[in-house]
Amino acid sequence: MKNRLKVLRAEYDMTQADLANRLDVSRQTVNAIEKGKFDPSLPLAFKISNLFKLPIEKIFEEEML
């Protein structure tokens, strides 16, 4: 799944550690999500959505095969 997490984080001037602290996850998890290596659970996706005040579909995009 593709996502705009890195771009949004830059817009909000946050480091990966800052975002990890806000989401209560490890920096490794934020990094893995940004790189598309790990898809977050629905609760975490909602947390991200609430933090950036955007609907989930504006942050995450399904990769079509």
């Binding site: 550690a17 990890a20 602290n21 209560d24 996850v25 490890s26 920096r27 490794q28 998890t29 990094n31 893995a32 290596k37 790990f38 977050p40 659970s41 975490l44």
Partner: protein
């Protein structure tokens, strides 16, 4: 990295798990070598040693569950994958090893410690691979 409430919980749960693991390993050594080297085959003391070891083992299991619950979802995924592979390798490898013994294809008796070592090494390697994969 800043210490969040979540991080503190992970550190605390890891320390508690380490203490229970240490107690379990220590009581295992005591229960194994105590009868011969400390209490001269006294049955009552041996039974107490075995019971204490089982209690510490149960404590370690609960500490491990608590540790898993303290992790975030990616860390938990890495742990569960490592445990799954270790369990699979342990069952398959253990039964193959046992078959080698029962069919007399190997010299000597199969030792449970070999299976424990196999599971431990597999878990450690798979955990390291998971950490690198999601780095």
């Amino acid at each position: 990295m800043k210490d969040t409430i979540g991080n503190k919980q992970v550190i605390r749960a890891t320390k508690i798990l380490a203490v229970w693991t240490f107690l379990w390993v220590g009581s295992m050594a005591l229960g194994t070598f105590g009868p011969k080297f400390i209490w001269n085959e006294n049955t009552t003391l041996t039974i107490i040693g075995v019971i204490i070891n089982a209690i510490f083992g149960a404590g370690m299991i609960f500490a491990n569950i608590r540790h898993l619950n303290s992790l975030d979802e990616l860390q938990r995924k890495i742990q569960v994958e490592a445990m799954g592979v270790a369990l699979g390798v342990g069952v398959v490898g253990g039964l193959t090893y046992s078959m080698l013994d029962t069919t007399n294809l190997m010299e000597g008796d199969a030792e449970i410690s070999i299976v424990v070592i196999l599971i431990s090494i597999t878990y450690a390697i798979t955990l390291a691979i998971g950490q690198i994969r999601y780095k």
